[in-house]
Symmetry: C3
Subunit: 399 residues, 3 copies
């Protein structure tokens, strides 16, 4: 798919769209119909994709429960590999994340010792019923493809065969020599968080008060934005050059800059988004030599787990310097102070969208053409939509 | 409306009502029909009235969010005035109470800098879209009439033109020279709290254990009560003289008083109630020279904000003495210990009424003729009933 | 009823049941129909039975509110007896557990002093309305039979005449010379807790990590179980001798015991269950000379109150020794560390059963024949099923 076609199909703010030229993208609903129906249904995220599930560092010997897209999973590290199963014993529903390790390549439920193969999910022993237990081999838990890359455990949520993870992750993440990863759960739906990542306008307003941006010359505004698709899978956009200051009718000049803000200009920011729920920001001068990846992983309808990954390809002394900068500076000033401003907005916007009313009541303006284009991009390209957890099948009778 | 007519219309315990003479007011439901249908619907309060929204003292430079009658509002102080808007940015739903002050007479949303006129609620700038933004002037937030009086911010919740606040507030509040205001949120519906304020019987039982009333000669009971309307808008009642002690058949003499309680008698208490949700108590000897006003403002169906206002018209040395008494004594012993006993009852009665069953299951007795009369008074005279928050309109397209 | 007949009727794992012989009891649903419909409905417990409501020790002079089977009760100690009433004043719904004691054999509501007879529940005075109050004698609260036995207050929840408590409690509890009672509320439905009590398999797995069982030779498994009925009212079971260790195909020998675990064997455990929600465990060597009773009393659909009663019939020096052992050892090591392992499982299994799906999705195995038999025992013999609290009648008009 080339850029032009992509633009023609779902990019709302191209000059061809007269309404966008007026500065106002079409709203989500038109005559009661959603313009991105799959996206609007994807409260719990998109199926048939790889997701980060935990930092490798946080997965030690004990099984670890995680909730992803409304599904309860257990991660188990064994013999250098990571396995993932549904986190509910088929017997009487106890989470296996409360379980024990009795034999290699198995996990045993804490209650009555039902013992499952990590590889196949099959019940290989029911310890309290003896070796002749008739239930063995007749029960199987769902397993999930899992793998480790760049300090994180990745899990595939879907029913079709998982594509190779290395085809799915961005090459510059795979090639990085160091990653500084912060993970935290926040209140809000993952889509609002994801839209904050592609949103081109809040950066010059919300983050004005962050210490990191206080010394920079932040522009008043940017004019138009042209969404594009790169490499057939990254959503991105070009922009007009920013307006440094402007005279607002009836209000006055804005912004009023301090003299020391005139020395450094923030520019060259490049934002990409990609499925299922990720963004990549480069050119953010104060994070260099790091590129910033984010995954906004759906936990349930009202919570997302934000994986903030600062990745560098620097080597030697430059790598050392990057590691020091990460620990002394970026962890606190960027991942915490700066990015938590975004998290606060996502939390504050949550009630508006949580009851469904936000999708029809929101009033979009010119910069939101990027958000509209992202929604259509995701709506069109996501492989599947996650349904409410009622659809997660119970433990299977082994064939 | 004169007293006689009021009595005839909704006062249940006048001698003409034979059932009331037997001591038992009619229950709320008669053949499944409510006798005060609008009052019973007014879970979220009455519309088209002025309400206290905050203490002036608590509204500083920053916008302040408050919930009133289920509606989210933001209060903003600017140039000596207070403005009130709906607390939700039309763009993507962020509360304006999280916002900033960029220009006089405006408030700017924290996320993308949409800037609203405090006076009209109109969008006057979209800072991140530049001065030529096409959305400006096409969006307007709802505004609410707001004004300050006697150390409090008052807001009019309604759709009709707001009547002058000075015609609505009691003259002796408006003329007071000092007010001691305590504000706290409590669990329970506002109506139960309000009924506690007019309830003539609990004072001589519930508050017996409050330190403030321990030294007083509290009577056993009062006989009949005659509800009345004063000045065409205050609900009040007259009572029979109290019975100091009484012999209860099969139980004995009650109350058993200590010798020191014989010296001081509590009498002359006068209680008024007025719409939308207020009471005035005078003649409470231990609060003098203060008159006690209370507003039981609905926050949502299960919470009310109690404005406890001790108002005095004393001047000079007497005023000084009143201020000292308030801070040294009444704040702790009356507003906290004494009035919190009422709040506890309102919280304990909440489950009974919250599911609707209390309105039909309650068993009223003779003193409740006052409560019954208050319900009918409010039912008949309240200007409007607040519906659930679904009816609060979204941001308007400016005409 | 003799054992044989009981076995024939509802014991799923007798040799006659070919499926049970294969090790797998029939699941709860067969063609959509429950095999123990009353048991499955009994989310709030069984009616027409006696329940422990509090430790005698915890019921002092003040009224005490307890929730049992979804009903709110108040316990009042007066003149050496305990009385139980519904915990809601008929007037305006305030709990009587917030009330006061004004006269012997009565309790008075904190709000307006309505005073009820503890014996009959009848309103005997309305203190704030004087001795001539017309409401007196016209209102009556529901009362519940209550009695003290062995350091606990017992209450009968039902509508039929209560059978004598001494016919209902196990003789060896009634004859005990000392009881060590721990009471705690836990998350989970009472039935899952009760099933944990009769469950013959978890003891040899879950409790392996408890300090108390670390020095014991715990077997790998037991084979078959034969449920029985004793004395016409106790549900119990016989078992095959345990397998000390076993070779599990593809996995290896299990359990791997420490040398010092070879010296002491846990055997001779005898478990009984009885209605409405109780178990009795004897032969647990480390609790001797105590027999362990448990009541898993339904509080609401998601909480149970576990009465853990260690009862001994020892006298003289042996009794002294038992008391010391209880306080120095069993309170902490057994009631707390050991039994809290069960409570944790009940909590972890709760989501699986709470939405109703567990009853049809659970996959039972050979040892669960005991649980299946218990369910059928309870389903068949429980006197009544508690409905949701909407059915608890409101205060009655006295006849
Ligand atoms: S619940 Fe897992 S083994 Fe029984
Ligand atoms: S949400 Fe208020 S400006 Fe965007
Ligand atoms: S609520 Fe109990 S006496 Fe009024």
């Amino acid at each position: 798919m080339n850029v032009a076609r992509a633009g023609g199909m779902y990019m709302a703010s191209t000059p061809e769209d007269p309404r966008a030229a007026e500065g106002e993208p079409k709203s989500a609903r038109s005559g009661g119909l959603s313009r991105w129906p799959r996206y609007e249904q994807a409260t719990l995220g998109f199926r048939e994709h790889w997701y980060p599930a935990a930092r490798s560092f946080d997965l030690k010997r004990d099984p670890r429960g995680v909730k992803l897209l409304g599904e309860e999973l257990v991660l188990v590290r064994d013999g250098g590999r990571v396995y993932t199963l549904e986190d509910r014993c088929a017997h009487r529903g106890i989470p296996l994340s409360a379980g024990r390790r009795e034999f290699p390549c198995t996990v045993s439920c804490a209650y009555h010792g039902w013992t499952y193969s990590l590889e196949s999910g099959e019940l290989v022993a029911a310890l309290t019923d003896g070796p002749d237990s008739a239930i063995v081999g007749r029960v199987r838990l769902r397993t999930y493809p899992a793998i480790e890359r760049q300090g994180m455990v990745w899990v595939y949520i879907g029913d079709r065969p998982a594509p190779p993870i290395d085809d799915e992750l961005p090459p510059d993440l795979l090639q990085s020599t160091y990653t500084g990863v912060r993970v935290r759960d926040f209140l809000g739906n993952w889509r609002i968080a994801m839209e904050g990542a592609v949103d081109p306008s809040h950066a010059f307003y919300l983050h004005r008060t962050a210490l990191l941006s206080r010394t920079f010359d932040l522009p008043a505004s940017r004019g138009r934005h042209w969404p594009e698709v790169e490499d057939g899978r990254y959503f991105t956009y070009r922009t007009e050059p920013p307006t440094p200051e402007a005279q607002y009718p009836g209000l006055g000049l804005w912004p009023r800059k301090r003299w020391w803000q005139r020395f450094r200009t923030l520019k060259g920011l490049s934002v990409r988004a990609f499925l299922p729920c990720a963004s990549r920001v480069s050119g953010l001068v104060f994070t260099e030599p790091f590129v910033v990846f984010s995954w906004y992983v759906p936990i349930d309808a009202s919570h997302y787990r934000w994986f903030q990954v600062l990745a560098t390809q620097a080597t030697g002394l430059r790598r050392l310097w990057a590691v020091a900068k990460y620990h002394l500076w970026l962890k606190l000033m960027y991942q915490r102070e700066f990015l938590d401003q975004d998290a606060t907005m996502n939390e504050l916007a949550h009630p508006f969208y949580a009851d469904g009313s936000g999708w029809s009541k929101e009033r979009l303006f010119r910069p939101d053409s990027v958000i509209v284009a992202w929604r259509r991009f995701a709506d069109e390209r996501a492989r599947g939509v996650q349904e409410a957890h009622g659809t997660v099948p119970a433990a299977q009778e082994a064939p």
